[in-house]
């Protein structure tokens, strides 16, 4: 029998029989999340405003996130052993744990809440406020992503995990926020020491001793996970996890190849749904994401063939640094002023020029470390600049938008350094744009518009004068 949420789930790509199958779980999850009939109108208009729901693939993607949300909320009820990791993370350990046992549920819960309670229900703020009330107070430049995690647990929306995988590999605030999970909820922690800052100019090379060190850290974290979760990591877990994620990456590559077209066939806000899914889910979200891409790819191929897209043909092309996780309006704003965004840097990880792990390492931890360091993204500004430079060539870019979070230590520093060096190296303009990818309370749309519109004007004028 149909219920108040059926239309929203259909909008998010659910088939009738899927809704029937999930009905009990949906209702149980909604009860815990505090979602009711009064939220449907907002969610419907919010989804339509921010996503291209004319594309079935996009709707299925939103559905993949909803399924991940339901699995997260009900993981304890499902009898799973629960592991949380941070974002951006060293994904390998989580993937290996997931590949080793069907009884383990591993995800980045904050990202799941951002993409569902934020992007679908526009109801993230109470969760952030709960995070603020539980150890991550407002006004202290603390990251809203971590507030979402702490808030979600504190409100009882998401379960207290059995283990937290914590690392300062990219963000040192993340591991400190995970301390709170231990302090407040008694959750054991497996730390991966991430002292990985590489020397300027080192990338694309990376020192073997750092692979050994990071690898050893990952190996000891995995051992602790085995002990805490009472599971055994299967010998071929790395290969198995790679196999499971290969279909996802391959489809994403096909999509990114389509984004080379002029005009770009779809808003990068939709691809961000995929980018984030690949960095947040190790379970059903990934499998559903693969299916969604199989629908989205032919839809976009049609658009490319027809010469239609998210912005006008000939629009200046820019790469942005981070996708907007909780609220895609900033990404939409960039496109509204006539800029094409074929890529975010995180997508350049898979869709930019290939990176080359050495593949000569033996332990599971070292294999993961080798892969991570080869990407060049998270361990040094120089690596980031080089990936951007490479992305510019691949995607024929006209400029860069370094959108950064004021409260993100690595991002805020990196954005200004990157602006300086990228402008010098490529001769292309860089806009350093302060946003908050995880909290739409923290920015003013009016001032963002002025900056982005001015930047678009600059790029269009430059393009026009180059033609003349």
């Amino acid at each position: 029998m149909a219920d108040y949420y059926d239309e929203l789930f259909k909008l998010c790509g659910f088939e009738d029989e899927e809704i029937e199958e999930e009905r009990t779980r949906i209702e149980k999850a909604f009860e815990r999340l505090g979602i009711g009939p009064e939220d449907m109108e907002t969610a419907d208009s919010w989804v339509r405003q921010n996503h291209d729901v004319t594309l079935k693939g996009v709707r299925k993607l939103l559905g993949a996130w909803l399924k991940e949300l339901i699995d997260l909320v009900l993981a304890r009820d499902d009898g799973k052993k629960i592991v949380y990791f941070g974002f951006p993370a060293i994904l390998g350990p989580g993937l290996m744990l997931s590949a080793s046992s069907d009884d383990v549920f591993v995800c980045a819960p904050d990202m799941v809440l951002d993409h569902t309670m934020g992007q679908i229900f526009n109801k993230l703020t109470p969760i952030l406020e709960a995070g603020e009330a539980n150890g991550l107070p407002s006004g202290h430049a603390l990251c809203s992503l971590w507030q979402a995690k702490i808030g979600g647990v504190a409100l009882g929306m998401i379960p207290v995990p059995d283990l937290a995988l914590a690392s300062s590999y990219y963000c040192d605030m993340g591991s400190k926020a995970d301390d709170l999970v231990t302090a407040q909820f008694g959750v054991p922690m497996a730390y991966i020491d991430g002292v990985m800052d590489s020397s300027w100019g080192e990338y694309p090379d990376y020192l073997p001793e750092r692979v050994h060190y990071l690898g050893a850290q990952i190996d000891q974290a995995l051992k602790k996970a085995e002990k805490v979760l009472d599971i055994e990591i299967v010998p071929d877990a790395w290969e198995k996890s790679q196999k499971d994620s290969r279909a996802f990456v391959n489809n994403l590559l096909r999509l990114l190849d389509l984004m080379r077209a002029d005009p770009v066939p779809v808003s990068v806000a939709e691809l961000e749904l995929l980018e984030a899914l690949s960095g947040s889910s190790t379970g059903r979200g990934i499998r559903e994401g693969v299916k969604a891409m199989e629908i989205l790819i032919p839809e976009l191929e049609e658009r490319v063939k027809a010469g239609t897209g998210a912005v006008e043909k000939g629009a200046p092309r820019v790469i942005t640094w981070v996708g907007h996780c909780a609220d895609p309006r900033v990404t939409r704003l960039v496109e509204d002023v006539g800029l094409a965004v074929p890529l975010t840097l995180t997508l350049a990880w898979v869709g930019g020029p290939p990176f080359k792990p050495k593949r000569t390492y033996a332990t599971p931890g070292e294999k993961i470390a080798d892969y991570e360091l080869a990407t060049g993204i998270f361990h040094g500004t120089d690596g980031v600049i080089k990936r951007f430079e490479m992305g510019a060539k691949v995607m024929k870019l006209d400029g860069f938008i370094m959108n950064y979070l004021y409260n993100c230590r690595p991002d805020a520093l990196l954005s200004h350094n990157t602006k300086k060096y990228l402008e010098e190296k490529t001769g292309l303009p860089v806009l350093a744009l302060e946003i908050d990818a995880f909290d739409s309370r923290a920015y003013s749309a009016a001032s963002l518009r002025t900056k982005v519109e001015t930047f678009a004007h600059m790029l269009k004028a430059k393009k026009k004068s180059a033609k003349e």
Binding site: A432, A446, S447, T450, H457
Partner: protein, 263 residues
């Protein structure tokens, strides 16, 4: 040809009327609570000051700028205030290569090429401490009758106080405490001006500041801020005759181009 540029900012609305012979008239008024109304009124006033007894509907082309640019019904086209300030400053001072624009509620630094095109910019919009509003608040706290008196008073100080706070609200507290400690009012006023200038200079220094550097926006009329800014950036700032209308003038110049392009 009769065109207008309308700059509706958070604090004031400005309009410039351009004819074939150049600037015919301009007007400045508080924006108030209704941006559309302010745009219409300021444009009508500018027409009257130009000695033209026509209505705004008779204008050939209108370009709007400023925060409320998108909601101005009479506009044929919109441009951001950053682009318009560059256009306007380059028109009045063709050697302009760098602009510091300080308005009521934000401040901007803009690099421009020899043609007046924006090549780089930075904008402060999260904090009132680098804006005209900061000086207005401090004028009230220090009981200076008119904001226009603040700049000259600041220059009379020989020992500006150090206002360490970077927030308007907390700086107010700081100034009250310093007054209670018996600090000279002129030194406090100078300290306020130096604090504003320091904040804006720090922002501008992330770009390449080169001559001719031009100071626009309402705060450019304040001699105290100008002097402290010059000291901080180590360069003379040129100030147009009426710096507050430079954005509206740029918009009017775009309107002229738009009219010619459309005809």
């Amino acid at each position: 040809m009769l065109v207008a540029g309308v700059d509706v900012g958070a604090a004031t609305a400005k309009a410039v009327i351009l004819g074939d012979s150049g600037i015919l008239g301009y007007s400045i008024r508080p924006t108030g609570h209704n941006a559309k109304l302010a745009a219409n009124k300021v444009t009508q006033e500018a027409l009257e000051k130009a000695g033209l007894s026509i209505s705004i509907d008779d204008l050939d082309y209108v370009v709007s700028t400023g925060y409320a640019r998108g909601s101005i019904d009479l506009a044929n086209k919109t441009f951001t205030e950053i682009i318009c300030h560059a256009k306007g400053a380059h028109f009045v001072i063709p050697s302009t290569r760098f602009i510091i624009d300080m308005g009521g509620q934000d401040s901007k630094a803009i690099e421009v090429d020899p043609e007046g095109n924006v090549t780089n910019f930075i904008m402060n919009d999260k904090c009132a401490a680098g804006t005209g509003r900061f000086i207005e608040v401090m004028a009230q706290v220090l009981e200076v009758e008119s904001v226009a008196e603040m700049g000259p008073l600041a220059l009379q100080s020989k020992k500006p106080c150090c206002i360490s706070s970077t927030c308007t609200v907390f700086a107010e507290t700081e100034v009250v405490v310093l007054r209670a400690e018996g600090k000279d009012r002129k030194d406090l006023i100078a300290g306020v001006h130096r604090a504003v200038a320091s904040r804006v200079a720090a922002m501008a220094s992330s770009l390449t500041i080169r001559p001719d550097a031009v100071f626009t926006g309402g705060v450019a009329k304040n001699i105290g801020v100008r002097r402290f800014l010059e000291e901080k950036i180590g360069m003379e700032l040129r100030v147009p005759e009426e710096p507050q209308i430079i954005g509206a003038l740029g918009a009017a110049l775009f309107a002229r181009e738009g009219f010619k392009g459309d005809n």
